[in-house]
Symmetry: C2
Subunit: 191 residues, 2 copies
DNA sequence: GTCTGCATGTAAGTCGTTACATGATTAG
DNA sequence: CTAATCATGTAACGACTTACATGCAGAC
């Protein structure tokens, strides 16, 4: 079984949204796809080059003063078809994120409860931050509907982040509680 | 900023649970850490070798008939300290999982609603499967408490999976509903 | 004056998977 | 007779990040 490389399609898709340069693609990903997709310039520029080589996109070099030439990329008909073909293919697997907090929690019998709780609290704070960011982005998209067709789907993906993040925050609180309850119980029996 | 490699610590931690061979480590990960950590033999065996080279573990070769020599690994005192040191280090980042479904959803204006809904339903089914698996593992751990100290923390990590998966399932249902509502509305105005 | 934004790109290195090789035993 | 389980390991490849190189414009 061979593994599909979705990065190519991520870029193919973004080229339909009005982001036409490598720099703009990076920006859009960092702003709007941030919670489920990341990418670095080290991938973007070579991939764009390859899209052109494969006939999925064309380049238009726009000379600029004081800056490197701006290269605008546009999908060809083949490129659009390739994107649609990929969109229709079924999703292979639910992703497994490597989660450092859960890994540490898994081995937390080798650590003090105080330390474990600290990790959980720290994690909850980070999740809250993410939650707030999602809410702000959501507000931005709803108030400035640049492209109505896309906007709705963008909100959907954000909503995924919001719901799962909320669930994770609740889990943090519940877990902290349980560890503290156990601690109190041990304290009583020790006396 | 350098990136930490947590795989080493995952193995270090598992060696404290009574899994002493590369094979057993792989099994434990596939069964119990499956929803937040994956690892292949191509990583396990070289890492075990390196642990010994670095003085964090020792090997004991047990000859077997008809099978390759069984190599049992045990943590040294240095190894245990290394694990504890890592446990106390704060978590760097909340992980970002690349999510193929969300990526496709993000670009779903280039696809029929029927196709999008199919993806969502498929995803929901996969999530339900995961949910059931988590519940079964939870039952197993609670009914056969092999190691009470560890068991509690293992349940916590499972609970994380259960809660976030449930939230994701609810999101699937809600999103499918919204797409269908929109579709119905368009249908009416078209007539 | 220094930092951020714009804008491109490459090379080296890390991390991780997949495919292969070996081979006996046991269950279906 | 075939598949799974036990059990080890490596080589090649792929995906991705980080660090580097370049350089102007405008804000503070």
């Amino acid at each position: 079984m061979k593994k599909m490389n979705h990065t190519k399609y991520a870029i193919l898709g973004i080229l339909t949204t009005g982001c036409n340069t490598g720099y703009a693609i990076k920006q859009l990903i960092d702003q709007s796809l941030n919670h489920f997709w990341k990418i670095s310039y080290g991938q973007i520029y070579p991939t764009l080059k390859k899209l052109v080589a494969d006939g999925l996109a064309t380049v238009q070099v726009i000379p600029q003063e004081g800056k490197p030439d701006r290269k605008e990329y546009y999908l060809t008909t083949t490129g659009k078809l390739e994107l649609q073909k990929w969109l229709q293919q079924p999703i292979s697997e639910i992703p497994v994120e490597k989660n450092e907090l859960l890994l540490k929690l898994f081995f937390s019998s080798h650590q003090s409860n105080a330390s474990t709780i600290q990790h959980l609290e720290h994690y909850r704070d980070k999740l809250s931050e993410s939650y707030n960011t999602y809410k702000e982005i959501e507000k931005m998209i709803t108030s400035y509907p640049s492209n109505e067709n896309d906007a709705q789907f963008w909100i959907f993906t954000l909503d995924y982040g919001i719901r799962t993040t909320l669930a994770a925050i609740e889990w943090c609180d519940a877990t902290i509680q349980e560890i503290q309850n156990k601690e109190d119980l041990n304290g009583q029996t020790d006396i």
